[in-house]
């Protein structure tokens, strides 16, 4: 299962990086005479109502999905770790306050939080990224906080402190390495949900504005034409499935590898 995931992820990343060079057609080029073509050898996934080649749009979409996915998660990771460390190491009231805020963010169903922010700020790439960051940060912060709390009171930390190690040193040399592993695995499993969120919000018209070839856009346009040109919608779903399955399989395999407890349960 892990190998399948790895291969799928590789495909997506490949498309993301080399997108502009491998698209057979310009994803944005409108070519009305060619519209509504069913899949063929020239147009592997057919064309849409404006004659744009769907296959190219899909490949271009991978770049959008991955960029947003990875950058937002990276930012959320950094932010989360900082906040988690603050919560764990800082004064009690800060911990309680942060926890309260995190739990409150949790109690918002994801998409609904996204919609709220979009209502306030309007649909754009920045809004989308902001939404993802707000949603993801609490999870990472919590993980970091737990790790911090566990280690903070452990004996070997007390021993090191008595030898004169500064708090900063403890954080960077001892805490972070311990937390990075599980955090990264959780983060990699979050990539598909972020990509899905982006696609979903764009589908509803609240995400990335047109004409950017986000996969959500393809789905949205395709849905209205579902009876006439079903291939659009089918093609729009495929990359999402590949991405989500790929990252999840990979993440699961990684987690099984690293967590011996889970391995024993198999």
């Amino acid at each position: 299962m892990g190998t399948v995931g790895f291969v799928l992820v590789l495909i997506v990343v490949f498309c993301g990086i080399f997108g502009p060079w491998i698209t057979p057609f310009d994803p944005l080029k409108i070519n009305v005479p060619d519209r509504f073509q069913a899949p063929s050898f020239t147009h592997l996934m057919g064309t849409d109502n404006l004659g744009r080649d769907i296959f190219s749009r899909i490949i271009a979409g991978s770049r959008i999905a991955l960029t947003i996915g990875i950058s937002t998660i990276a930012i959320a990771l950094v932010l989360g770790m900082t906040l988690g460390l603050a919560a764990g190491y800082g004064p009690r009231w800060l911990d309680n306050l942060l926890l309260l805020i995190f739990d409150s963010i949790y109690s918002f169903p994801t998409v609904i939080l996204g919609l709220t922010v979009v209502t306030l700020l309007g649909a754009s790439v920045t809004t989308l990224m902001l939404v993802v960051i707000v949603i993801q940060t609490p999870a990472y912060a919590r993980l970091t906080r737990t790790a911090t709390l566990t280690i903070k009171n452990s004996e070997y930390i007390q021993a090191i402190e008595s030898l004169g190690a500064s708090k900063l040193r403890i954080i960077f040399v001892h805490l972070l390495p311990n937390v990075m592993g599980p955090l990264l695995i959780v983060a990699s499993m979050d990539i598909p949900s972020v990509v899905t969120l982006e696609a979903g919000l764009t589908y509803l018209g609240m995400g990335i504005p047109p004409p950017a070839p986000s996969w959500g856009r393809t789905l949205q346009e395709g849905y209205t034409l579902i009876q006439v040109a079903p291939w659009i919608v089918i093609s729009g779903g495929i990359p999402l499935i590949i991405t989500t399955l790929g990252f999840t399989f990979l993440g699961e395999a990684l987690r099984d590898l690293i967590d011996p407890k889970l391995r024993r349960m198999r």
Binding site: M1, L100, I101, D103, S104, I105, Y106, S107, F108, P109, T110, V111, I112, L113, L115, T116, V117, V118, T119, L120, L121, G122, P192, T196, A199, G200, Y203, L204, G205, M206, L219, Y223, I226, Q227, P230, V233, I234, G237, L240, I241, T244, L245, F247, T248, F249, E252, M265, R266
Partner: protein, 314 residues
């Protein structure tokens, strides 16, 4: 037990209040004039002045907060900017549809997930176990709206078996049921995997325990052991998971309701959001948050009540 209940619900209410304050202050802290944001670029100075006056946007923060909570306690969620209808009423009209959808969706997830998880645990490492494992990950990953669209392609367009749009004729149970099939299935499918996995894990843990061996040593039939001994215990973490599922399903319901053009909170919020109709969005969001915030402690209390060990220790 009672004290524990009060504690849990109290905490949830605190979180709920914090969420509402955050929601409220979000409007204040964003750049730009709230009135313009709400009305969009079509606003002209008159409309802006009127909105500002109506919503008391110029009053000191504390007063606004106070009015906000005051109104909430009275059940007043504000008024729709355009139609002037009370938001509370709009929410009440739509909420039952969403609740029904989520309920049936969870039903699908439980119907498929729990037996699969159970069988995987009982027949460890068999074909069914591995198959369930892959299916679980698969269903967890694939987004619900993609599932929904593909379902529509297959069952509505290609086969013509099920209707797509809306919730069906009022009063016609059969029609409404038909309209529920695809949306609820698309919604619930994603959680089949989670449920199967947690049932499997809990069952494996329980089945390995000594008291199961004792039950076998007394000749109890295997089916009885699974049902009354193993499953009873394994179901406890499942209940907690189901509560979490509600939150996730509330999110997915937004997409499903949009795709199937079903009435519901999700659709209400989406439509309002696209029109920047903040009061309606706010009202809808508050309702969903409250719903979720209350489901969690209820699930925890249910688990505590079902497990005599926890009950005795409270």
């Amino acid at each position: 037990m009672l004290f524990y209940a009060i504690q849990r619900i109290g905490l949830s209410i605190l979180i709920l209040i914090t969420s509402m304050v955050m929601l409220f202050s979000a409007l204040k802290f964003i750049p730009g004039d709230p009135a313009t944001i709400m009305l969009g670029s079509r606003a002209n100075p008159e409309m802006r002045a009127r909105i500002t006056e109506e919503l008391g946007l110029n009053d000191p923060i504390v007063v606004q907060l106070g009015t906000f909570f005051g109104r909430l306690l009275q059940g007043n969620l504000g008024t729709d900017l355009w139609s002037k209808r009370p938001v509370a009423m709009m929410v009440m009209e739509n909420l039952p549809y969403t609740l029904l959808l989520i309920g049936i969706g969870l039903g699908w997830a439980a119907l498929l997930g729990i037996p699969l998880g159970c069988m995987s645990a009982v027949k460890r490492n068999s074909f069914i176990d591995k198959f369930t494992g892959v299916i679980s990950v698969g269903t967890i990953s694939i987004p619900s709206f993609v599932v929904a669209i593909y379902l529509i392609l297959i069952f509505a367009i290609a086969l013509g078996w099920l209707p797509v749009i809306g919730a069906g004729e009022k009063g016609d149970w059969h029609d409404q049921a038909m309209h529920l099939v695809m949306p609820s299935f698309a919604l619930g499918l994603g959680w089949v995997g989670y449920l199967a996995r947690i049932v499997r894990a809990s069952m494996l843990e329980v089945m390995g325990e000594n008291h199961i061996r004792t039950a076998r040593a007394f000749g109890l039939p295997e089916l009885r052991i699974i049902k009354d001994y193993a499953l009873r215990i394994a179901i406890l973490p499942t209940i907690t998971l189901l509560a979490v599922a509600v939150g996730s399903l509330l999110s997915s319901a937004v997409f499903v309701e949009a795709i199937f053009a079903r009435p519901g909170i999700g659709k209400l919020i989406v439509d309002a959001a696209s029109m920047r109709n903040f009061p309606v969005v706010q009202g809808g969001v508050l309702t969903t948050v409250a719903l979720f915030a209350l489901i969690m402690p209820i699930a925890d209390l249910l688990v505590a009540w079902l497990d005599p060990r926890v009950r005795a220790n409270l």
